[in-house]
C-alpha cells in the first residue's frame, strides 16, 4: 500500500472511531477512552522499541508519574480543575520528560537484555514510592480525584472527555508520525538496525537514543494526566510491572515500528482485560493465548496481516517489512 492510501485508511478508521464510540453504551465509551490513553502510552513505547530498538520494561513509570502529579495537584492544591487543566497537561508532560532525562542517564548505555532489566528496576523504583510513600501518594489505597476539570465545557461528561482524549490521541499520533518521518526519526531507525554503523557515520547515537527516551517519557507523562482523569482514581496498580509489560505487548501485538500498531494493540488488550473479563471467567486464557500465538506465529504483529495475506494469495515472496532485529548480546 502506498503511504498515501495508508494515511487515508488511518484517517478513515480514526473518523469511524470518533463517530461511533459515543453511540456505544456508557461502559463502552469509558473503555474506548481508556484504550486511547493507553494507546498514547503504547505509541510512546513504540518510539523506543519499534523505531530505536530499545525495549523498555518500565514505561508505566511515566504514566504513573503523570497520573500521580495530576491527582496530587487536584486533591492537595485544587489545581488543574478549571482552565489550569491545560497547565497540568504541560506539567505532566514535562515531569515525564524530566524523569526520563534522569532515568535515561542510567539506562541508555545498556543494550538488549540489560536495557530491559534496568528499565524494569527504574520502573519498580517509581512503583515502590507510589506504594509506600503514604504521606504523598496515599499508599496502597491511592488517591481519589475530586472530579474532572470544568472550563466552559464539563469534562465530567464521559462523551465530552472521550473527545478530549481522542484529540490528544490524534495529536500525539500526528506528532510522533512527523517525528519518525523526520531525519531524526530516520537516524533512530538506523540505530535500531545497526548502531555501530551509525556511530561510524558520525552520529552521536547516545544522544539520539537519549532524546528519543525523553520524548517517550514526555508522551508517557501526558498519558498519565489523561489516565488520572479517565479513571478518577490513581493507585500503585497503575504502574505495576504488569502495566509496563502490557504496554510492551500492545506494541508487539499491533506491530512494532508502526505507531498505529501500538494503538490497535492497546485496543485489543483493553478489550481482553476489561471487557472480556466482564463476560467470561476465563478471559486470562484468551489474553495469555493471544500473546503466545502472536509471539510464535506473527512476529510482525497484527499490522503485518495484510502483507501476510497478499503474500499468501500471490504465493510469491513480496518484500516484507522485516520483524525487529536484535543484535546478539
Amino acid at each position: 500500500m502506498s503511504s498515501r492510501s495508508k494515511s487515508i485508511v488511518v484517517i478513515g478508521v480514526l473518523l469511524a472511531v470518533g463517530l461511533i464510540a459515543p453511540h456505544t453504551n456508557a461502559f463502552g465509551v469509558l473503555l474506548i477512552t481508556r484504550a486511547m490513553v493507553l494507546a498514547v502510552l503504547a505509541m510512546s513505547l513504540d518510539l523506543l522499541l519499534g523505531f530505536t530498538g530499545l525495549p523498555s520494561l518500565g514505561q508505566a513509570a511515566y504514566l504513573g508519574i503523570g497520573a500521580y502529579l495530576t491527582a496530587i495537584l487536584a486533591t492537595k492544591y485544587s489545581f488543574g480543575l478549571g482552565w489550569s487543566f491545560w497547565l497540568v497537561v504541560v506539567l505532566g508532560t514535562s515531569i515525564g520528560a524530566a524523569t526520563a532525562a534522569i532515568f535515561g542517564l542510567l539506562a541508555i548505555r545498556a543494550t538488549g537484555v540489560y536495557f530491559l532489566m534496568i528499565t524494569l528496576a527504574l520502573g519498580q523504583c517509581v512503583w515502590g514510592l507510589a506504594y509506600r510513600w503514604n504521606s504523598v501518594t496515599g499508599g496502597d489505597n491511592g488517591i481519589n480525584l475530586p472530579g474532572r476539570p470544568e472550563f466552559g465545557i464539563r469534562l465530567a461528561d464521559d462523551v465530552t472527555y472521550f473527545y478530549v482524549v481522542f484529540c490528544f490521541f490524534v495529536a500525539s499520533l500526528a506528532m510522533l508520525y512527523v517525528l519518525v518521518q523526520s531525519p531524526f526519526g530516520r537516524s533512530l531507525e538506523g540505530i535500531r538496525e545497526r548502531e555501530v554503523r551509525m556511530r561510524i557515520l558520525g552520529y552521536n547515537t547516545w544522544l539520539h537514543k537519549y532524546i528519543a527516551f525523553i520524548i517517550a517519557g514526555a508522551f508517557g507523562g501526558l498519558a498519565g494526566v489523561l489516565w488520572a482523569h479517565a479513571n478518577g482514581h490513581v493507585s500503585p496498580e497503575d504502574l505495576v510491572l504488569t502495566t509496563s509489560v502490557d504496554a510492551l505487548l500492545m506494541v508487539v501485538l499491533g506491530g512494532s515500528g508502526t505507531l498505529m500498531g501500538g494503538a490497535i494493540g492497546a485496543g485489543v488488550v483493553v478489550f481482553l482485560r476489561e471487557y472480556l473479563s466482564t463476560l467470561v471467567p476465563w478471559w486470562q486464557y484468551a489474553l495469555g493465548g493471544v500473546y503466545i500465538l502472536v509471539i510464535l506465529y506473527l512476529p510482525g504483529g497484527l499490522m503485518s496481516i495484510p502483507v501476510r495475506i497478499r503474500q499468501w494469495r500471490t504465493g510469491g515472496r513480496l518484500p516484507m517489512r522485516k520483524p525487529l532485529r536484535w543484535r546478539r548480546i
Binding site: A110, L120, W127, G128, R132, V252
Partner: protein, 289 residues
C-alpha cells in the same frame, strides 16, 4: 546502645537473613536461567506461586507436608521442562520475544491457578515442631525461619557441589561463560538449557512451598515476588551461584531494614541500588566479568 537496641538489630538481621534464604531459592534459579539461556524469565514468579498451590493440593490429599515439598517442586520442574522444549527452544535468541512469551505463560498460569485453587489467601501449615520458637542467647527466634535458613544452606551447598565438582557443572559453567564456544567443544548446550530451565522451575517452586508458610499463597503473589527475585539476581550478578547467595542476603537485609527504618521509601531503597548497579556494573556486584 542499650540491650534493647542490640536485640532489635539482632532480630532484624536474623529476619533479613531468613528472608534472604527464601530469596536465594527463587533468585538462584532465575540467575542460572539467565546465565545459561540469556532469558529473562517473567514466569518465574508463577513457578513460585504454582509450587505453593501444588504443595497445598498434596497436603490436602496426603496430609503430608514433607511429601509436598519434593513433589510440588518436581511437578513444576516438569512444567518448566515442557515449556522450554515446546515453546522457548524453537524461538531462538530474541530477548524481547522470549520475555513476552514467558509473560504469556505467566498469565495462563495465573488463570489456571485461579480456576483450580480459587482466589482466597491460603496458608501452608508446616508441622507443629517447626512452628515453635527457639531461644538463643535470650532471643526468641521462630523455628520456621531457622528451618528456612537451613534448607537454603543445604540446597546452596548441593548446587555448589554440582556446579564445581561434577562434569555437568563444568559444562554449565562453560555455557554461562561462552555458549558458542561450549558448543564448539562438544557440549550439548541445548540439553544444558533444558536442564537449567527445569532446575530453575524446581528451585522457584521449592521457594513457593517453603515461603508459602511465611508469605501465604494468594493470586498476585507471583508478580510481587518476581521483581524482588530480579533484584537478587542483578545485585548478585547474573549466572553466578555465589552471587545469587550474596544478592539474596543483601536484598533480604535491605528489605527488612528498609521496612523497619524508613518504611516510606523501603522499596525505593531496594530498586534504586539495583538500577545503579546495572548502570555502573551490569555483571552485578559479585558476577564474573
Amino acid at each position: 546502645m542499650g540491650p534493647v537496641d542490640t536485640r532489635f538489630w539482632l532480630v532484624q538481621i536474623f529476619n533479613g537473613i531468613s528472608y534472604g534464604a527464601l530469596l536465594f531459592l527463587v533468585g538462584s534459579g532465575l540467575s542460572l536461567i539467565f546465565g545459561v539461556m540469556r532469558i529473562i524469565n517473567l514466569s518465574h514468579g508463577a513457578f513460585f506461586l504454582l509450587g505453593g498451590y501444588v504443595a497445598l493440593s498434596v497436603i490436602w490429599t496426603s496430609g503430608s507436608w514433607a511429601l509436598a515439598i519434593p513433589l510440588a517442586a518436581l511437578v513444576i520442574a516438569v512444567l518448566g521442562l515442557v515449556m522450554e522444549r515446546v515453546f522457548l527452544r524453537p524461538l531462538g535468541s530474541d530477548p524481547l520475544r522470549q520475555v513476552l512469551l514467558t509473560v504469556g505463560f505467566a498469565f495462563l498460569f495465573q488463570q489456571a491457578a485461579l480456576d483450580i485453587w480459587g482466589g482466597d489467601n491460603l496458608d501452608i501449615m508446616p508441622p507443629a515442631s517447626l512452628t515453635q520458637s527457639v531461644v538463643i542467647g535470650g532471643l526468641y527466634l521462630p523455628g520456621y525461619r531457622i528451618f528456612m535458613i537451613g534448607i537454603a544452606a543445604v540446597i546452596g551447598v548441593i548446587l555448589w557441589l554440582v556446579m564445581e565438582k561434577t562434569r555437568l557443572g563444568a559444562a554449565i559453567r562453560a555455557t554461562v561463560d561462552d555458549a558458542p564456544m561450549a558448543r564448539g567443544v562438544g557440549i550439548n548446550t541445548s540439553r544444558i538449557s533444558m536442564f537449567i530451565f527445569a532446575l530453575g522451575a524446581f528451585l522457584a517452586a521449592l521457594g513457593g512451598v517453603i515461603g508459602g508458610a511465611f508469605l501465604g499463597i494468594y493470586p498476585g503473589l507471583d508478580f510481587q515476588i518476581l521483581p524482588i527475585a530480579f533484584a537478587v539476581v542483578i545485585i548478585g550478578g547474573m549466572g553466578s551461584l555465589g552471587g545469587a547467595a550474596m544478592g539474596a542476603i543483601v536484598v533480604g537485609l535491605a528489605d527488612n531494614f528498609g521496612k523497619a527504618l524508613f518504611p516510606e521509601i523501603s522499596y525505593f531503597t531496594l530498586y534504586a541500588p539495583m538500577a545503579l548497579i546495572l548502570a555502573v556494573r551490569p555483571t552485578g556486584l559479585f558476577g564474573r566479568e
